[in-house]
Subunit: 437 residues, 2 copies
C-alpha cells in the first residue's frame, strides 16, 4: 500500500537531493475519529467485542504483547528509566498512590471515550453541512444542472492562484447542463491504490458510476442487522443502468468496535459489502477457463467453462473477513495465511479511509490529477525514511534470555541512553573567562 509509487533512492540518473526529493511529508488527511486496525493474535483471550467498560483494559493482551511486557519488566526496562522493579520496591504507601492514579486514569479514559464520540458527531454535523455542496457537485457532474457563472469564476480564480499561466476559458462560452463524462472513473484512476485495482474490464462498468458518497452509521441502530448497531461509516457507489449488474447502489460498510482502543481512537471491527447482482456472464470478478470434456458413452467432446476468481475492483465489495477468536485459538490459520489476511485487511481499511477522507471530499482534485502529486509525495517520503534507517548498522542487539524461545523476539536498539558527560572542575578556573565563549 505505502509504496506503489516510489522515488528511487539509488540507481537513478540523479542522486536525490533536497531539491529533487520531498523533504517532508505533504499534509495528509488525518480524520477526526480515524480508527486503527485491531491486532490479530493467535491466542487472543476473552471474547470478540467484549465491552471493556473502563476503557482501561489492554485490548488483546496476548501472545506477543505478554512477551513484550516481559521485556519491559526485564532488560529493556533497565535501560529505559525505572523498570517495574522500581515500582515493586516502593513502600506500600506509595504503591497505594500509584493504584489511586490508575483509578483516576479510569475516569480520564471515560472522558476520552466520550470525547471521541463527540468528535464523530462533529464529523456527522459537517457532512450534513457539506451535503448541499456535494449535491451541487453531483448535479454538475451528471448534467442535471448547468454551472453558474459565479461557480465558474470562483473555479477559474482558484486555477489562476495555483498556476499563473492558467489560460481562462473563452468568455463567450455558455454553461450548459452537459455534465462531465467519466468523471468518477477518471477520479478513481488517479488514486494510486484504486487504480491498481481497476482492470480494463472494470473500467467499462465504472463508466456508469455516477456518484460516490459517504454516510455514517448510527450507533445502536439496526442491532439485529448486519451492522450489529456498531458505529462506523459506509461508502455508497451509485451507478446508472449498465450492462454488468442490476444494483443501482453498491455499498461498502466499515464498522468500528464499540470501545475506543488503548490510545483513545476507534478500532476497526470489520467491513461489509453489497452482494453484486451480476447479469449473466458479466461477473467481472471471475474469469473462465475452457476445458474439453469427453462423454464416455457417446465419445463426443464438448467445451465446458470453469469460473475462477480474478482481480477486479469489484472484489472491493467482498472484503476479507477478520479471523474469529475461536478460529485463532483452534489454530485454524497457518502463519503465512494469517499474515496475508492481515495485509489484506489493512489494505481494505486504508482504501476505505482514503475514499472517506480524500477522494470523496476532493473528487475534482482526483479528476484533474492535482491530488495525485500530494499522494505521491506522502509515499515518497515514507520511502526515504526507510533508506535512512537502513544505513544505521551499528545497532546493539538485546534479547530477553528468560523468554520462551518460541516467542523470542530479538530487539535491536539504537544505542543506550545518552550518558551524562559530567560537570567541569571548578577549581583554578576564572568564571569570567567563560562568558560568551
Amino acid at each position: 500500500m505505502s509504496s506503489n509509487v516510489q522515488i528511487s533512492g539509488s540507481g537513478g540518473i540523479t542522486a536525490p537531493t533536497p531539491q529533487n526529493t520531498p523533504l517532508t511529508q505533504a499534509p495528509i488527511a488525518l480524520g477526526l475519529s480515524r480508527p486503527t486496525v485491531p491486532d490479530i493474535s493467535e491466542d487472543n483471550e476473552g471474547e470478540a467485542g467484549a465491552a471493556d467498560e473502563s476503557g482501561e483494559g489492554l485490548q488483546s493482551l496476548a501472545g506477543l504483547e505478554h512477551h513484550m511486557l516481559g521485556m519491559v519488566q526485564g532488560k529493556l526496562a533497565d535501560l529505559l528509566g525505572k523498570s517495574s522493579g522500581y515500582i515493586e520496591s516502593l513502600p506500600v504507601e506509595v504503591k497505594l498512590n500509584v493504584e489511586a492514579l490508575k483509578g483516576v486514569q479510569v475516569k480520564q479514559n471515560e472522558l476520552q471515550n466520550q470525547y471521541k464520540r463527540e468528535c464523530l458527531e462533529l464529523e456527522k454535523k459537517y457532512l450534513g453541512l457539506q451535503k448541499p455542496l456535494y449535491e451541487r457537485r453531483n448535479a454538475i457532474i451528471n448534467g442535471k444542472a448547468a454551472a453558474t457563472t459565479a461557480e465558474i469564476e470562483a473555479g477559474e480564480q482558484a486555477s489562476i492562484k495555483e498556476d499563473e499561466d492558467y489560460t481562462p476559458l473563452p468568455k463567450d462560452s455558455t454553461p450548459a447542463a452537459n455534465g462531465i463524462p467519466e468523471f468518477w472513473l477518471t477520479a478513481l484512476r488517479n488514486h494510486i491504490a484504486l487504480n491498481e485495482m481497476i482492470t480494463d474490464r472494470d473500467a467499462e462498468a465504472l463508466k456508469s458510476l455516477v456518484d460516490v458518497r459517504l454516510e455514517y452509521l448510527t450507533e445502536g441502530e439496526n442491532k439485529s442487522g448486519k451492522t450489529l448497531g456498531k458505529p462506523g461509516f459506509k461508502i455508497l457507489f451509485e451507478f446508472s443502468k449498465n450492462a454488468f449488474f442490476d444494483n443501482e447502489i453498491l455499498e461498502k460498510t466499515y464498522l468500528y468496535q464499540e470501545e475506543v482502543g488503548y490510545s483513545g481512537d476507534f478500532v476497526y471491527d470489520r467491513a461489509l459489502g453489497t452482494k453484486i447482482k451480476w447479469k449473466e456472464d458479466k461477473d467481472l470478478t471471475k474469469e473462465f477457463e475452457i476445458k474439453k470434456q469427453r462423454n464416455k458413452n457417446t465419445n463426443r467432446t464438448r467445451l465446458v467453462r470453469k469460473a475462477l476468481p480474478t482481480d477486479s475492483f469489484f472484489n472491493f465489495f467482498s472484503p476479507p473477513e477478520p479471523p474469529t477468536d475461536e478460529a485463532l485459538e483452534n489454530g485454524e490459520f497457518e502463519d503465512e495465511e494469517l499474515e496475508e489476511l492481515e495485509e489484506k485487511l489493512e489494505e481494505d481499511y486504508q482504501i476505505g479511509e482514503d475514499l472517506k477522507e480524500k477522494v470523496i471530499p476532493r473528487a475534482v482534485d482526483y479528476f484533474t490529477g492535482k491530488a495525485l502529486h500530494y499522494d505521491m509525495m506522502d509515499e515518497d517520503d515514507d520511502e526515504f525514511d526507510d533508506e535512512d534507517d537502513e544505513d544505521e548498522d551499528d545497532d546493539e542487539h538485546f534479547h530477553d534470555d528468560d523468554s520462551d524461545s518460541d516467542n523470542d523476539v530479538p530487539v535491536r536498539r539504537r544505542g543506550g541512553p545518552t550518558k551524562g558527560r559530567g560537570g567541569a572542575p571548578q577549581a583554578n578556573v576564572n568564571p569570567e573567562e567563560c562568558k560568551n565563549q
Copy 2:
C-alpha cells in the same frame, strides 16, 4: 524517531512469525487537530504565512512539486487513468463544468477550515473537563492530598482486569499524602525518544519536575507577542526549587499556521521555548573544555574553560528554527544542512505531539511502563513494513524524459495497471455446466 527500538527481522534466534511479531499497528494516538509538517523548498514562491483565503491554493507549490506536476501531466498520468491531456481535450462546455466544480470545492474547503477550528474547540472543551482529574493526579503525585479508598479500589480493579495475577495491596495499609517520588522523571524515561534525550546529569534536575501539563493558545490573542496570535498549544513543565535553574515553569510552545493545509489539517508553523535561567555553572546544555593559557608577559599559565554545546533534554527548550523563505530563496542553506534541519524540526514536532497526545493524558502508564510496549509495537510494525518492501525487487523503472535532468526524479512503480483478462468465449459452452464449479 520511528526506529529507536526495532524488532530485528533477520539474524535473530527465531525468525519472525505472526505469533512472535506484531502483525498490525497497535492503536496510536491520532489527535483531533493533529497538524502536519510544512514542506521546505528552496524556491518557495509567495510570502511566509500568506493567508490563502480560499484554502484552495497549493501550499508551497514549488521546485519538486512543480516537477511532480510535470510528471502527472506526463508518463505517469498516462498510466494512472486519464491525464490532464484528457481534460485539455474536453470541449469548452465540459471544461466550464470542471472549473465550476473547482468553484464548489473552494466552498467545501472553507467548511473544512471551519470544521478543523471546531475540532480544536472540542479539544479545548475536553481539556477543561479533564482538568479536575489532572489536578487530582497532581495532588496525589506531589503529596498534597491522600488518595481515597475509592480511587485505590478503582485502580486495583483496573490492575486485576489487566493482569489476573495482580496481587492486591494489604487492606490494612492507610493512604497518606506522601506522593510518588520521581514520578515525572520515571514517566519521561519510559518514553523512547524522551529517554534518549535525558542524560544522567539531566536526571538530577528532572527529579524536581513536579508537573507536566497542556494549554491551548487562543487564536488572535497576543498578536504582538511571540506567538503572533497563531493557534497552537504549549506544554508546561513545572519544577520545584532546584540547584540548576531559577525558572519555576519551562514552556514549550507549538504554533500552527493560520490556514489548514491542503489535506485540511493544521500545519506546524514553529516552536518556541522558555529561556532557562541557569544558576552559575549549572547549564546542563553546555560542557566545558579546560585549556591552559600562558601569559606572554608574566609567562605564568592559568586554566581557562570554554563552554561547548552538549546533548541534554533541556535543549528541548531551544527548538530548531524553520528556515525563512528569504534564506531559502537566497540559497543560504546547503542541501545537507537543510535536510538535517528538516529532520530536527520533525523530531521536535513529534515529541511535542507525543507529550500532548500520549504522555500527559496517560502519565501513569508511562510511569509503570505499560505505555512503553504499545509504543514499541508501533515502531516494530513500521520496521516490518519496511522489510517487506525491500523484497520487491521486480519493480519497473520509469522516468520522465521531458523533465529537466537537474530535477530528474526516477520513479519506480510496482507493476503497471492490472490488465483485464478478457471474457470467455461463449460459443460451444453450456451455461448450465458453469454453475457452482
